[in-house]
């Protein structure tokens, strides 16, 4: 090979190109390579030092959930044809991937009740930020009004991004567990035409179902004193897609853009990623959407086919004028999403929603009846609910862990909000049976009682 190239040594190829001053003149200080079986053993040993949802009875949620991933998804995701190609730049040999995107878009449109969906963005919180950027491109105003019911990670991601694109985030507090409607309307009106986006979550971070239609309507109703308003803000809703079999879809509630974390749809927990972010909108926002979009067309012989379309929005064509910088996204995870939705099917998604609703109701009742436990709010909940304990949450969680139960997320530890002290967020999936919930009630009740005793003794 060197003879064909016409150089005596491989070294010369580098010496002729890389100036000596920036050549690394030592070996990398990394361990030596290992045989495959040794690497596996090392990775297995690391895995063994994690307590996964397989090792304890877990009620952790707050954005990612321990739903069952059907075996057929593993099989399809491991197929070379889906696992190993890249973005379908050559549509003639990428019809499989493009059709998956087209089907995924169809499923997300149908779930959200919004006519246009892209082929996925990274994940939930960054999708919220991406939607805010769309609103900025659309309206130009520099204010974002965001409900405190958004996941803390969504709010933090939004602030990080808004700082970049020059917008301020105004947070609207909750009242009785849901977005305070008066504060919401006031915050939007106070922007005097500068409010580009109004964002809330459904269900919200505390598990409560928001009155999405009322929030949308309030955002779009001009305040009487505000004659100068140029346009209504883009109403953005972060949804939990697995609830949309029973919850009124954002498209029927006046929402303009629905975004969300797709992990619950056939994706593993994976310690937080990769999963996918869903992004759907009303037709008028189509040309400002971020990310890939697959579209239907025909080939020279008139056969049905699919291509990446509306690429003039994208960075590789439009460069600094692009609607987003996103390139590589989450195609494989979105494949898992659409396969999962096909597996659940038209009836299954409703049954799943009803099962979650019933078990969550049961769990909320059981736990709220324990001594030292009360509901954090009385709003309807679907698959997750917030409690307040009259004991130190961290200490209670540690006591539960000794019995193999993880009772949920310490709200204050995650949100940092003073008013969340004592808060516990409990998530239910179809994997948590009545017996599991009864066990949780028993262990949590005992842990709180023990904590009370310990406190009194101290």
């Amino acid at each position: 090979m060197l003879a064909v190239i016409g150089v005596p040594t491989l070294r010369e190829i580098f010496e002729r190109q890389i100036p000596e001053s920036v050549r690394l003149d030592r070996a990398l200080e990394l361990p030596d390579g290992l045989a495959e079986q040794d690497v596996y053993e090392h990775l297995r040993a690391l895995a063994a030092r994690n307590t996964s949802a397989e090792d304890e009875l877990s009620f952790l949620g707050a954005g990612m959930y321990d739903h069952y991933v059907p075996a057929l998804i593993d099989m399809l995701m491991e197929r070379s044809e889906f696992l190993t190609p890249y973005t379908p730049y050559q549509p003639e040999i990428s019809q499989g991937g493009l059709q998956v995107m087209f089907e995924y878009q169809t499923a997300i449109s149908e779930l959200t009740g919004l006519p246009v969906s892209n082929a996925s963005v990274y994940e939930g919180p960054s999708a919220v930020a991406a939607a805010a950027y769309l609103a900025k491109l659309h309206n130009g105003g520099r204010r974002i009004v965001a409900s405190a019911g958004l996941h803390p990670h969504s709010l933090q991601t939004l602030r990080t991004n808004a700082y970049g694109f020059g917008m301020e985030v105004v947070e609207v507090p909750l009242r009785d567990g849901v977005t305070d409607p008066d504060a919401w309307a006031q915050a939007i009106a106070a922007g005097a035409g500068e409010t580009s986006a109004a964002i809330f979550a459904q269900p919200n971070f505390y598990g409560a179902v928001e009155d999405a239609a009322a929030l949308s309507e309030a955002a779009k109703t001009p305040a009487p004193a505000d004659g100068a308003r140029a346009g209504a803000p883009v109403v953005i809703c972060q949804v939990d897609p697995i609830t949309l079999g029973i919850v009124r879809p954002p498209g029927e509630c006046g929402v303009d853009v629905a975004v969300g974390e797709g992990q619950a749809l056939g994706n593993r927990l994976d310690f937080g990623g990769p999963s996918f972010g869903l992004f759907a909108a009303r037709e008028e926002y189509l040309r400002r959407m971020p990310g890939r979009i697959a579209g239907e067309t025909v080939d020279v012989d008139g056969r049905r086919g699919f291509v990446l379309t509306l690429q003039t929005r994208e960075q590789h064509i439009r460069r600094e004028k692009a609607t987003s910088n996103i390139c590589t996204s989450q195609a494989l995870n979105a494949l898992a999403g659409v396969v999962y939705l096909s597996w659940l099917g038209r009836r299954g998604i409703v049954e799943m929603g009803e099962l979650l609703l019933a078990r969550t109701h049961y769990a909320r009742g059981r736990l709220a009846a324990l001594d030292g436990v009360e509901k954090l709010h009385e709003q309807p909940v679907i698959r997750e609910f917030a409690l307040r304990l009259d004991a130190d949450v961290d200490a209670v969680r540690r006591r539960c862990a000794k019995h193999g139960v993880n009772p949920g997320v310490d709200l204050h530890a995650l949100s940092g909000r003073e008013e969340d002290r004592g808060g516990l967020l409990v998530a239910i999936t179809e994997r948590r049976t009545r017996a599991d919930i009864d066990r949780l009630a028993e262990v949590l009740g005992a842990a709180i009682a023990a904590e009370h005793e310990a406190t009194v003794a101290a």
Binding site: V4, I5, V7, F14, Q17, I18, V22, L24, D32, Y40, L43, L46, S52, M64, R79, E81, T87, P88, Q90, P91, E92, I93, Q95, G97, A107, E110, V116, H153, T157, N161, Y163, A212, G245, V247, R248, R268, D270, F271, G273, V298, D301, R303, T309, L310, Q315, H316, E320, C327, T328, Q330, L335, V339, G345, G348, L355, A358, R359, P380, T433, R434
Partner: protein, 548 residues
Amino acid sequence: MSPIDENHLHSDPGIEARHPHAHPASAGATPLQRDTARTIFQKGAPGRRAFVCPEMDVPPVDVSALLPERFRRTAPPRLPEVSEPEIVRHYVGISKRNFDLDSGFYPLGSCTMKHNPRLHERAAALPGHARLHPLQDPERAQGALELMWRLQGALSELSGLAHVSLQPSAGSHGELAGVLLTRAYHEDRGEARHKVLTPDTAHGTNPATVTMAGFEVVKVATNADGGVDIEDLRAKADTDVACLMLTNPNTLGLFDPNIAEIAEIVHGVGATLYYDGANLNAVMGLSRPGDMGFDIVHFNLHKSFTQPHGGGGPGSGPIAVSDRVAPYLPVPVVVRRTHTGTPPSGAHPEGHTLKGVGRQAGEDDSYDLDYDRPKSIGRLRGFHGNYGCFVRSYAYICSLGGDGLKDASEAAVLNANYLLARLKQQGVADYLPLAYGELCMHEFVLSGGPMKRDLQIKTLDLAKRLLDFGFHPPTVYFPLLVEEALMVEPTETETKETLDAFADAIAAILKEAARDPEIARGAPYSTPVRRLDEVAAAKTPVIRQALG
């Protein structure tokens, strides 16, 4: 126009035998072409299903009482009604309409389509990794945090920069993190800079990122050798400039020999230097961005570190930064608490000492997530990043080791130069000359200008005809400053035989075009669909299946 001498183009006679001279359109439709695309929504029947819902084991509830009507969905979403075997047949069927890296050569420039070992999938699927909840208490996720800490250490050593965040979701997300870090750095010093320089050869994500981060893009010209035009850089580098974003080797596959001078100019005006790591596969263990003077680097784990590309993701885009940028890194940062148990202070986090990466954790060591970083830009996404990708890339680094990573880069550069030389040897260079330089790093860019003039076929036609030969084409029409560009990145995991076969195919296509350019212009012929009408798709977008 130069006379066409098809005998000057040498290709393997075997290839010509497999692809005879008769016009391929006369062969008729293939079985896949006769199979009209139908979506999952067009299959199944009412009432058919795959999912069996777990038993309703709690007391039945009145849905309308728990969920008032104004919150409730009235009609179920029209999802497919299909059985499990139908789902399997459907997706296995459409998977066969994809070309993939496991099936053949995929020299897509700037994308580093190297082999994806299946060990990585097996390791990532272990329940201890795959079913680990991101909000598990750090003391019960020690394996995951240690893995992340070790990966940070390896990336630190490879880049020559001490501080790493694994959080960004892909390369462009890493770029956004980097430009936001730059903004925070300058603002912390009381400076409001508003421009970011990018070469005209930059990936499109660079200028798009600059806009999203609230800066103005200023383009820097390319010199006659394909590097940064130093005079133009000098003229544009002033105290309004926050950053220069650079890829090195650049998108022409060339290592910029003036990198030290470039760094000096950029640092001279107080700006940061950003390294787009898309091309890191050329220099692992050979040259380090930190030593070149870069302040911020992003890595594409899905490129250099072989996370499978998944048809367009998932990716992962960690960043490494210098000491002066470290205080602004996204939260949380994975840290190791050593035997004293003293956490590092927020403003000056522990950098990787580099030497500790390989050793076994001490009994007293523990790993944690550090949120106490007052100058942090904040979060870029939920949780800690694409951990599943970290497992795979960490497994890759363990398999190869330090020397193996260097070998990988050397072989990638060797393969690229061999393929380039082989194409020259076969006479292809007369029609597809190298755009700049003589040698290349891990990829090279050819210009299809002479081919278009002399053989009457465009780069697009060549790319489409390559599909009939069973190859994924190189990246086409990028970088923009090269006429009819063809960007070829073979990677280190391809054999000499594969490279030879690819060179033969290119030569054969040019030879064929010399006889009859219409063949390439009408290509492809053997793919599941033939050339698609992209203009019509964009004009009247149909982006979902019409549902009954």
